[in-house]
């Protein structure tokens, strides 16, 4: 019976402390942006979530590759867990992006490179689950899922660059925040908050993937015991 590793408990506690800490840092320590006001602060977690999501999909692709090479189910479990968690972070990124955009540009949706890429990415990885659910054996789910995860990850940077190119050819009058964190000059305080958020979200990512992985282990074990 997969026991919860002590390291994971440690990680849980760490996340429970650091996430609120990061939030406090953002809320009270960073300067408020002149034009956009407080809502700009959402950006710290928004970018961190997007980053975590993309990292997750990278992990999933690596897991897929390892599965195809070694044919060990544990890699498939890793892949699956990473994609599920990645989809959650992607959702957070999209929703927070929309909420950030709304008061500024008075619209819920902007065809901004980041937002559009993330939405497409979400669709691609949701399709992963549709693919898996339409397959009947654990082996085929693992094998075909692995291929899909690897092919998909290649398109993530591809998609991002294509839309990025698209937007520079059509110069958008809207503020340069849409091109991402580096666009506006961050003060050192903002930088601290920014990188802290990235770090915290990365820890959170590892934590959640790990938990999801254990769930996958138990579920596999359950399937086997029946036999």
């Amino acid at each position: 019976m997969p026991k919860k590793p002590k390291l994971l408990t440690l990680l849980d506690i760490l996340c429970l402390i650091l996430v609120p800490a990061a939030l406090v840092l953002i809320l009270f320590f960073t300067p408020t942006e002149r034009v956009m006001g407080p809502v700009q602060k959402v950006f710290y977690f928004h970018v961190s979530a997007a980053w975590a999501g993309m990292l997750s999909f990278l992990v999933a692709a690596v897991g897929g590759g390892l599965y195809l090479a070694q044919r060990k189910m544990k890699w498939d479990r890793l892949s699956l867990s990473a994609i599920e968690v990645g989809v959650v972070f992607g959702l957070i990124a999209i929703l927070s992006g929309m909420i950030w955009a709304q008061p500024i540009w008075n619209t819920w949706w902007v065809w901004d490179p980041r937002l559009t890429t993330t939405a497409i990415m979400e669709l691609i990885y949701l399709a992963y689950f549709i693919l898996r659910s339409s397959l009947d054996t654990p082996e085929s789910r693992a094998r075909l899922g692995a291929v899909y995860a690897i092919v998909s990850v290649v398109t993530v940077p591809l998609t991002f660059f294509s839309i990025r190119l698209f937007r520079t050819i059509h110069p958008v009058v809207i503020a340069t925040e849409s091109s991402g964190g580096g666009a506006f000059n961050m003060t050192s305080r903002m930088q601290l908050a920014f990188f802290s958020s990235l770090f915290v979200f990365t820890l959170l990512l590892i934590d959640l993937i790990w938990h999801r992985y254990i769930l996958a282990q138990i579920q596999s074990a359950n399937q086997e015991i029946g036999i």
């Binding site: 939030l23 034009v35 977690f45 957070i92 138990i218 359950n222 015991i225």
Partner: protein, 53 residues
């Protein structure tokens, strides 16, 4: 400066809300899986005992 304080609160609420919801659902799934595991292990052990008798 734009008065976007409520938007900011909304934004963070959504972020933490989605995270929280996922963690909660994950915990519930974990509990269900573990209990299923125990039930099945017991049944398995029982059937093992029965067949060895």
């Amino acid at each position: 400066m734009a008065d976007t304080l409520t938007d900011m609160i909304f934004g963070f609420a959504v972020i933490l809300g989605v995270l929280g919801a996922y963690i909660l659902i994950l915990a519930v799934r974990m509990r269900q899986a573990r209990s299923k595991y125990h039930v099945r292990t017991e049944k398995y052990n029982e059937s093992q005992e029965n067949s060895s008798r």
